[in-house]
Subunit: 293 residues, 6 copies
């Protein structure tokens, strides 16, 4: 590694920006975006960060302006970009479900399936995905690019829309009905194909991926510690498979051991009552920054 | 437990809302309230959350629209609701003191005690509590419901008010004097009486209570670890009773042990200097999510 | 210690206020500043907090109105205050660099060094520091107090300015060039000289300093734990000097030990890949509240 | 009129507050509400302003705490207050339509008319109006007071609601159907019956009413001026009855006159094209502060 | 005109929205846009308002979904829409200059004229305008659609941009140099070609245009009145040509006349001193709503 | 006047900024302050505007960096600046009273007059004004510069303060008592003494002053028009001296005249009822931009 080597890394500007910067900080890279400069500061001389619209990142990674970047699978497909996919990440904590691009029509529309779109007009931000979808089903229809407020148009300006949704509630609020799902999308770390062949860049990208994974993994996990009498230990471990692979250390008090493990946060609420029942004492749960197996 | 069983759980909307949702998240249930839908999302299929004004929750728990809920003791009493009280919680970190409903009058008012209220007019949001208080003291006075800004009325529209206060500073700022305290109130977890008799519902409510307690307990506690020479250990433990029931593990380095314990955060600032004096090294304090004894 | 003893502690109002209160909370003292009262609440009967402009704190500590306070080294020097300096702290996480007072001129100005200031006019908030600097270099120039927006004046109202900067970006944005640095400044805990001689007050101030140090230390550190086979341990420790002084505990599983240590957060991103390579398993990183050696 | 006479005037706090203060300013009384004091400042020594919830004003006017006040007809009726109504005002510029209290149910509810409410539960902020309405129709039903977010309750907590609406859009957004209208309401200036008999107070109230009317009148009117040849004047006036009662002044230029009139703003957009067609020149429209016939 | 005739009128959503609604209100049509409904309210039964992105309006006017609309000349051209242009308006008060679409490059770029673009890559929101411009100059270059933050891309992602600017200051702040201007654009009122042939619709559109013009005209004009002795009048009028075509009315006081005129606001600051010098007294300036010659 | 002549005009930055820019706009100069540039735009090539702290303007006018400026009388005195005062203006509409610099002490302080300050410590932003005041009364006391929050210091850090106040309410809220008034201050237009001797600059400054006066005058005045029968006119004018110097024009309707006048806004509410009583009809009030006698 020479002193001057730098990896150009594109992060998504806009709605995903705050979540992405927060995950990067958890992984160990502090980035600060200034309103005065379009080049963010990062506390790593080997990285050059660029904030770019999610829609455009894959294009710039493909062309080599960026060595790698984080963007959605949807926009990689919409742009038809030829890039190396390093890994998949899920940033949104609440639901941890992929976003969906769906075909939607007004509740009272006669359109019931993609076949009914023949000769109709569709508004969407993802024109290419929509055309590909229509071709796959052998349907000819007009697809027009929508600059926003797409949901509102479905009621009188066009016949159908293809729009993004997480839970569908925004569509329902606009009295729209989902006809079909075109694509499920999650954030991806992608690399330029030449950058991926460069040994130094590849190692750097893999380190980023390892620590991002470790930070995301830690978000849904917690540490759990408890004391238990030696005689109850076997029973505890046998009946509680969630206590996978615990660290058991001897205590100076005879006949007692400390059990420590890392578990999914969402099983804690069922596990703690069971642990108490099995004889565990002094149960504590503590937060984690990273988990790397 | 069948797949379809659901516990209907009411949480207080308004000033207590953020604190309540934060505690629920610490306990292990992530709830998100959308402006588009009045039904919050919770990551537990067995729970149905409803956000309802604190004033109304006990009523809906009593009637069975809700199986259980969190609300203040004051509103349970004001509504005279017949419900089962599962437990008491204290949510506000800063003072950890109950809220008080007080009888207040202008600083210069001749009213010195409840007896002086005879024939007077009182404005309050808690009409029933106030009437009950007057009956208890055998005083006849007019009680009228106030829609808000009650403190301001005491100076000319009515003779006295019954109002909520935490530290009394808002009353003092309005140049009011506290005459008496009617009620101290803290948040309570309450259950519908039939729901409490249902085995599945009761177990679910008890789990909620156990983990909420564990999360609240952890807020005022921290973990403390240090290394100490074996020969100094007895002295350390004898002189520092705050180190209640520590976990002592052997280190591979001969003659040294690791001491780990959970203590009240507010004693840390006195304990750490004392630990150093007793020979402890490498003292670290770390945060906790839950503490269950 | 008598019940009535109180230490009067001044904290900086304004731009440093939020950072200071956050550090105090991490150290163990919760302070709440109310808009209704100018006396902040603190959960320690032995402390009386006053929020005062950073510019004025050293003056009031010197006069004895305050027993101690936190302020910048720059204002201690500007005021020429005779106080005891207890310790130095660095509050700003991002850069952790001292603030600098610099002499700056327009990019195209002919002024290249302090010598060129002869007979010129300089605007600044730190009139005394600037005069002292000029005297040191034997330069006679006019120094005038600036009430703010100093950077803007350098282009036409005066010939040069002495202004504060962290990264220099604000100066560059105003097309100014740095000619020289007058002073580097960091936050300091200072004490009144008589208070420092009083045994009770000195002990209290030292406790504050110890715990503030512990909290600041913890901000740049994390806890790291991992399991490793006994046979790989020596190799691990020899090749990874960052694992300074780890706690090694025996596991009940034969041939395996748990290694735990406290390290600088910024080396984690290089250390974790190396630990994996050396055979470590189940690596977890966890956050710390305080670290006291 | 003695120097000390003062009229106590109640204005509605909350959603109507800003509109009310703006109208009072247009009428000639500048009122400023300070967050520091609950007594607003008004630039007239003969007035004492009180900001009070619209719900409560009629009660305090009836009791004589206030000499007069502005509130909605709905709350006068809900409170059953015996007061003298001085005049009706309409403050909301956009629609200039009264607010409506309506009975609403979920879109899919079987309730089609008031008769279907028998034995049902209704939530509302106007309990008395609702009970009166049920009595009028001979229907027995349970009416409960709602603290807010009433619309949301109609879907599962109660069977129907009585709620305020202007355009019905908020009800539709909540998927509610209007079953019946209970009351139309507009703002009223009301006076205490004794105050109305006091000569000085009555004159003061009438002056307030006159100038408020003048200011409201001016909001929907504009001044219009134009020049026209004398020979075309008769034709202009005959064919454009909207030019009611114009002021016609002689110009120094022979054979031309200036025509000036006050007209409703909303006819301007039709009138100006017609004026041009009739030979008017140099048409200008100017704003008005007050119009008093 | 039948009762049911309605003109569908599209107004630009987004950055021009507030200015447009304000001008419409001055012209005589009050429109209120609700966050709950996408159909704005307008106080004219013969109009149906739709808020649509400026970029899309000409498309919907061309297709006949809208009868007419207000949008920029730039987007009419970009869309190549075949519509009837009714008139040109200028909404922005401060500069009253058209917006410009310019070709810009980094300050230090070797590109000096459109010819240098050969084989380069250009990012822009107006892909068609840019391609047309290149064709006109016989230059082959790659044009790509930019989703925003175009200025930032010029420094490394592309070779040049085509971007909108009013004063050029945003481009300079981004260290870009303007190479050429492609298009000057002002807001236009456009009509669908069939709607323009319909007599009722055309009359309605012409009325809208007349009153919008009248309202815009009034923004830069004021009314001026003064009294002057008859003997000084000729001299006043001869020397002050700005007093174009004044209305002169006789006063009851012998030998004095009132002079009234409408003038450009920006000459007032020079005219008033001159009027005083010429003997005018009691000069007042008053605001105007509309001016129609 | 040559094309290149420019008047350098300083306006106060900070709390007075918005009011000042609004008055300048009413006077006829539109100024826009951009966050990107410290030089504001003004629509007059002969003016160069600079926004500078009110505290510093008189200094820069005295030195000739500025030709003229608007600042408070207080800061002219504090700086002891030798400048030509062109005129006095009052910008704050609500009270139209000068700001006062007062000597204030805690309510319960034994200090009753300036004489009691002997040997005390006083905090203030106006050190020179305070020292001059003490000298005038032959009192020796320590005066220290306060960087802000001065009111809070009076309770324990110093013995008295000299602080600015408009109505005294902020002092009362801090439980301070006013002992004496040092200075009343209003905004002033000041000129550099050489600039005032330059004919072109002086004329430009006088034009600015004339139109600012005209705009301020118009703020408290309105236009009033009415029609009245000729026979009632004398009576009207005799009994209503507020109708000073009206313009009376003949109407074409025999026996009627139009009366028009400019009056103080605050007498309108008493005048209109009187006018009606005297037989006036069709009374209208309209707003004014400028009034120049």
């Amino acid at each position: 590694m020479t002193k001057n080597q730098v990896l150009r890394f594109g992060l998504p500007k806009g709605s995903l920006q705050d979540a992405t910067l927060e995950k990067m900080a958890k992984a160990g890279w502090n980035i600060s975006v200034s309103s005065r400069s379009y080049i963010p500061y990062v506390d790593d001389d080997e990285l050059a960060i660029r904030m770019i619209r999610a829609q455009e990142i894959s294009r710039y990674v493909e062309h080599g302006y960026l060595d790698c970047g984080i963007t959605g699978y949807d926009w990689i497909e919409e742009n038809g970009s030829k890039v190396h996919e390093v890994g998949e990440f899920q940033f949104s904590k609440v639901t941890r479900q992929p976003t969906r691009w769906v075909l939607a029509v007004p509740e009272e529309s006669p359109i019931k399936s993609v076949k009914d779109l023949k000769g109709k007009r569709i508004a969407t931000e993802v024109v290419n995905l929509t055309k590909k979808y229509l071709r796959k089903h052998g349907v000819k229809a007009e697809v027009e690019f929508s600059w926003g407020a797409t949901e509102v148009k479905a009621h009188e300006l066009v016949d159908a829309i293809v729009e993004i949704t997480e839970t569908g509630s925004s569509l329902r609020a606009n009295k729209l009905r989902i006809v079909d799902t075109l694509l499920l999308s999650t954030p991806r770390l992608i690399a330029n194909q030449d950058a991926w062949k460069n040994e130094w860049k590849r190692r750097k990208i893999e380190t980023l991926a390892l620590l991002l994974k470790g930070a995301l993994e830690a978000e849904s996990k917690v540490g759990l510690k408890m004391n238990i009498a030696q005689k109850n230990l076997d029973n505890l471990l046998k009946n509680l498979p969630a206590l996978r692979n615990p660290t058991i250390s001897n205590l100076s008090q005879n006949g007692w051991v400390a059990v420590e493990t890392i578990i999914d946060e969402h099983v804690v609420r069922e596990l703690i009552p069971a642990l108490k029942a099995a004889g565990a004492e002094g149960i504590i749960e503590y937060p984690l920054n990273k988990v790397v197996y």
